[in-house]
Symmetry: C2
Subunit: 309 residues, 2 copies
Amino acid sequence: MAILYADDPADAAAWAVAIRALAPGVELRFWPDSGPADEVDFAIVGGKAPGDLRGFANLRAIQSTWAGVNHLLADSNLPFDRPLARMVDQGLTVSMTEFIVLHVLDSARQGPRLRAAQRARQWLDLDPVAPGTIVVAVLGLGTLGADAATRLVALGFSVRGWSRSRKEIAGIESFAGSDGFKACLSGAHILVCLLPLTDDTRGILGAAAFAPLARGAVLIQAARGAHLVEADLLAALQSGQLSRAVLDVFAPEPLPVDHVFWRHPQVTVTPHVAAITRPGTGAADIVENYRRALAGETLINQVDRAKGY
Amino acid sequence: MAILYADDPADAAAWAVAIRALAPGVELRFWPDSGPADEVDFAIVGGKAPGDLRGFANLRAIQSTWAGVNHLLADSNLPFDRPLARMVDQGLTVSMTEFIVLHVLDSARQGPRLRAAQRARQWLDLDPVAPGTIVVAVLGLGTLGADAATRLVALGFSVRGWSRSRKEIAGIESFAGSDGFKACLSGAHILVCLLPLTDDTRGILGAAAFAPLARGAVLIQAARGAHLVEADLLAALQSGQLSRAVLDVFAPEPLPVDHVFWRHPQVTVTPHVAAITRPGTGAADIVENYRRALAGETLINQVDRAKGY
């Protein structure tokens, strides 16, 4: 019985420390040193399987260290008939909510305009806008979206949310389905994307999403690069339908050095830093899911392959 | 019986609308058209009395529309023997807390470094720091400081506070007095100033405040310009004891166009936009204080002239 760590080698030591602190007796192996194949009963993966993991006959389950697993569902090196768990650890949620709150506030408080004014040594006469008059639409109301939305409500923003099924979250106007999509976006000043990437959501950040927003709206995109139709974003920025975009995720990453986003005056590029899983907080889910996998129980954040998340 | 509005003429119409909505019968006059002097029993002032207000024999009280009143306590155009009220309206508190949260998050999430990386088209490999490991010291735990500190606790930061007398605020380590000052600052990563400006606090943001902080700490100053010893700030930025300062207030304002802060790479200048009183939310205090003044009751946020706030 052994856990095979097949995630980023740079993070192996940190995960090993965190897992052993919670489960000192567990045997950890590190790809490609997997030992006898029939002893591996649990695997940890991240961005991409480093090789063929289909040969482990006794593999009970696969644990991703990432919240988004669309890439793993399409990874031919992984067996498709074993339970797969996403990781939505507390540290990741806190980090994502911080990122969203930071950029919503920066937009609401006209950060880019103030930074430009400083460069021009110009003392702007600018009144703060009351947050209650600013409508934020959050696409995706899973663990991440619900936490960010709730925090924005607490800061006084008018918050709407859209998800596959209607959610009941205090203070948030909830929408679902394709009818609800346009209603959620209608007149919104800030659009936050925290959706999983699925066949249904690929390219969802396009002209049809931007058109219903208030003119001059801001896009904050921290989900997956493939949600965004880049040409539609550039057109919306050009026309003034959007005034700004904050993009943390791209297809591909790193964003190529010659990409227009880097130098676009209305685009803020951050290098996929909104949220990452931290071993210190994430190891608890791994240890518990290992126990559940051996016991044949449903995993924490087990992926529904039909839904895609 | 009449209220004399002697604040900024540009805001007169908005205040009149907001006050009349709550108290339709009240007589409002607008400086310099004060009408018969003995009919004026209440005055509204802001940044500076526009002329001599000592001749109104029946003036019962003076209402400031500002949260900070140090300038009014020293204004020889105002009678010193009438009750004076500060205004700490809900809109102002919300606005200030937004500003503080925004700049604490921007510092914690390395906003300036990320913006520089974008200009250089550089994809940084940057892990978010857990907010619990970041110590924020808030100077001043009045309405504004307490609200900001509470919100920072909710976001997971380790928050300390310092004030004239020790305060009990959930989740915040509270300090008071000159011994407590250094203890509060010791090892803090972010220093937030929301103090009133008094003889005791003038120049408090100087070398003695910066020295106990963690090396490379960030100053966020949203109180009054005269709290800051500019030369000490520049020396601390130069030495690396401070890595950055976010300054919203200056002495004088507007910040002169040739001032070194405008172009300093480690200084963020904002044009006193952190918090302003909004007539829509502030008028309720004015109407209630007018009633109290006529009834001889203590005003909401009545200033203690000995304390200076």
